[in-house]
């Protein structure tokens, strides 16, 4: 049975077919130029998922939007619980150090949360995710934020329930994400609303980003 030929996407956007047998031919006859050509073609296959990524601007905006709930939550926790305790126990520079660790972690956490969104963009059909990346990714992160706060408020369940009893909750969470995604796909108003929110929140998020980067510097300085 003949194996279907793969389709390669060239950097210029042209699509052409290349026979997979080219690899075998190159190896049999030690035709290194052909090997190089094959490698070039193979690398061009990487361009497929990479080209599915959102634009740099979209990615940056979404990342900054994702940063907001994460940093805001950590700032809230620092002010609510940490700071009053720390200020009784430590000198100012050490308190700055504690806050820096928390904020630096928030930066790492934002990145860890953002990477799966990029991955989704690469693996899902373009029109499912990539084409509405900003709205979908932001919507999912904010909806998830609400769910994760709910989970934290029910800490005992996380500690003692085990996997099976939590499954219905995980299922409900996944369903809510799907409903939100469908809503964004169906309603341009919802998409516009989220996009508009993202644009409005950029300035605040940029400030958070600067704070988080400064926190990383402080952590490095304290540990040198």
């Amino acid at each position: 049975m003949r194996v279907p030929l793969p389709r390669f996407v060239e950097p210029g956007g042209l699509v052409q077919d290349r026979p997979r047998a080219e690899w075998a031919t190159a190896n049999t006859h030690h035709d290194y130029s052909a090997v190089l050509e094959a490698v070039k073609n193979a690398s061009s296959t990487l361009a497929v998922p990479l080209r599915r990524l959102p634009s740099a601007r979209e990615a940056l905006y979404t990342y900054l939007a994702c940063l907001v709930p994460i940093v805001a939550w950590s700032v809230f926790r620092v002010l609510d619980n940490g700071l009053p305790t720390w200020s009784r126990q430590m000198r100012a520079w050490d308190v700055v150090g504690v806050i820096a660790y928390v904020q630096a972690f928030a930066l790492v956490e934002s990145t860890v949360v953002f990477i799966p969104l990029l991955f989704l963009s690469m693996v899902l059909p373009l029109r499912w995710f990539r084409d509405k990346f900003v709205a979908l990714a932001t919507g999912i992160v904010y909806l998830s934020a609400a769910w994760f706060v709910f989970a934290q408020l029910n800490d005992d369940a996380l500690r003692w329930w085990g996997f099976r009893p939590l499954l219905p909750w995980v299922g409900t969470y996944c369903a809510s994400v799907l409903v939100l995604s469908a809503l964004i796909h169906r309603s341009s108003g919802v998409e516009a609303l989220i996009n508009s929110f993202v644009h409005r929140v950029i300035l605040l998020a940029s400030t958070y980003l600067l704070i988080a980067l400064a926190a990383v510097v402080i952590v490095l300085v304290r540990n040198l």
Partner: protein
């Protein structure tokens, strides 16, 4: 590469006594030499939250500590020994610096000693005399200021080394900046309330809890209530004791080893052979609920007490193993062995545990049993002593004069110092105050002779209140005689007022 299993370790320990007869490195010299002086080894064993009120040596009705009783047969038992703090941080800091909390200011739950005390620890002072210094703690509160003394400790073994599970990273990842890092980690890992990590905490908590449940399931036969644990750390006291035996055989002489083990601190996860040991139906006489209590029900307190006693029995069983090892290897002939605690535990007046401002006897009176090298008979000391006395006593043992800043006295019967009949000892709880300013929210207790004065300051609805008890006639502290014995009360108040400068100073 194969790892050393617990079984391998036990085999190794079994042959260690025979090796020690021949090998000069493991067989101890009668007393190690330092110049022309002979310096004994020092082993300080701290069992966390170990109340003297639950030890039969001190009159407790349940036989919780048969091995400690055996050890006491050849040691000095201090019957009125007090911690200077009501929880790990302040109690341990006082033990290691020989100063009261108003001086070292490790008064908050995870605070450290003031910077000037970095060089005023037992490790630094004995290290200067050539001691090899080893420190280990299961308790992350103690690790904060042990980390401050790190430069004076030759071997500060990380907590995780003796844990089955320890997800904390600050001790090895941010060694140079440990205190801020561990505070941040505490917030990230949600010690107490919600985490500062919005997303990653949830999978973390789920994962760590899953691992903990799995470990408990694997060891359910041996530990029916779960493995010994503190927050996300899981450990076995057996591992710590095995490790101690190895270290005792291998450390350079003379050594100072400070080993701070968590049991019988809660949760009271005793080993199977101790569970149910005290299901005797004993119900202690109830005491009136204190205004500053959490109003824990009497029924709960009775159950907690029983579980605590069983956990003490577990700690004692492991101590017994260590004691036998030391006896068999002649370590007791060359070493000062000190068994004590950092604070006690309360099961009365609606109060459970030790996070309380109420400084009643079960909370602050702790065991102190010291075996001098070669001691064969039991001696008893009844005058009040404090954990701040341990540092000057050990300094005297090493021939070092008591430093000017030290607030302790040489313990009677261990050193050459006679017992001071009129000695006053103190305990301070100031968790709610800033360590840098006046300790405005605090409880201070003072014990002199048979009387004990407690002063509560800065608590809503219980501000500037005094309680006084006669510990001889009323050891259960049921009758507040502050109003009826005005003369003695004003004497003790005057003593307390002498400390107000230190309590109210800005640092």
């Amino acid at each position: 590469m194969q790892t050393l299993t617990r079984r391998d370790l036990l085999k190794l320990l079994a042959v260690l006594p025979s090796v020690s007869l021949h090998g000069p490195t493991t067989r101890q010299r009668p007393l190690a030499q330092q110049g022309d002086r002979q310096l004994p080894n020092i082993l300080i064993l701290v069992f966390d939250a170990f109340s003297a009120h639950h030890v039969p040596l001190y009159g407790y009705r349940r036989p919780t500590t048969p091995n400690l009783v055996r050890f006491a047969d050849r040691a000095t038992v201090f019957h009125s020994h007090y911690s200077a703090g009501s929880f790990t941080t302040s109690g341990t800091a006082s033990l290691l610096t020989g100063t009261y909390p108003w001086s070292h200011r490790a008064v908050n739950l995870q605070s450290t000693v003031l910077d000037e005390f970095r060089d005023r620890s037992i490790f630094k002072l004995l290290g200067d005399e050539g001691y090899y210094r080893l420190a280990y703690t299961h308790n992350m509160l103690a690790s904060s200021f042990l980390n401050q003394f790190r430069s004076a400790i030759d071997n500060f073994t990380p907590t995780k080394d003796l844990c089955l599970q320890d997800p904390y990273v600050s001790q090895w990842m941010f060694e140079k900046d440990f205190t801020p890092a561990i505070h941040a980690e505490g917030l990230l890992r949600a010690r107490g309330e919600t985490s500062s990590s919005l997303f990653l905490y949830v999978p973390y908590r789920f994962w760590v809890s899953h691992l903990k449940r799995r470990l408990n399931a694997q060891n359910g036969d041996l530990f029916p209530r779960g493995l010994p644990t503190l927050e996300d750390r899981v450990f076995l006291l057996e591992d710590a004791v095995d490790w101690t035996m190895l270290k005792l055989g291998a450390m350079p002489r003379p050594f100072l080893a400070y080993l701070h083990f968590l049991p019988p601190h809660d949760p009271y996860h005793a080993r199977k052979d101790c569970v149910g040991r005290f299901a005797d139906g004993w119900v202690p006489a109830p005491k009136p609920t204190h205004p500053l209590s959490d109003r824990v029900s009497e029924e709960d307190l009775i159950n907690y007490r029983r579980e605590y006693d069983e956990h003490i029995a577990y700690a004692d069983a492991e101590f017994g193993r260590l004691f036998d090892f030391m006896e068999a290897n002649g370590i007791l002939d060359t070493t000062y062995v000190i068994v004590t605690s950092d604070h006690g535990e309360l099961f009365e007046r609606g109060i459970w545990e030790h996070v309380t401002p109420c400084l009643f006897e079960p909370l602050i009176r702790i065991p102190l049993i010291i075996s001098k090298p070669g001691q064969r008979v039991q001696r008893n000391v009844y005058t009040p002593t404090s954990c701040v006395d341990i540092l000057p006593t050990l300094l005297q043992v090493a021939g070092i004069p008591r430093p000017e800043w030290c607030e302790g006295e040489v313990l009677p019967s261990v050193g050459d110092h006679p017992a001071e009949a009129d000695r006053a000892v103190y305990c301070v709880d100031a968790k709610g105050s800033s360590r840098f300013g006046p300790l405005t929210k605090r409880t201070v207790s003072l014990i002199r002779d048979r009387y004990k004065l407690i002063h509560y300051l800065g608590y809503p609805d219980y501000d500037d209140v005094y309680e006084m008890y006669d510990l001889n006639d009323d050891p259960e502290e049921l009758r507040n005689i502050y109003s009826s014995r005005r003369g003695i009360a004003s004497d003790l108040k005057a003593l307390l007022n002498e400390k107000s400068v230190q309590l109210n100073r800005q640092v």
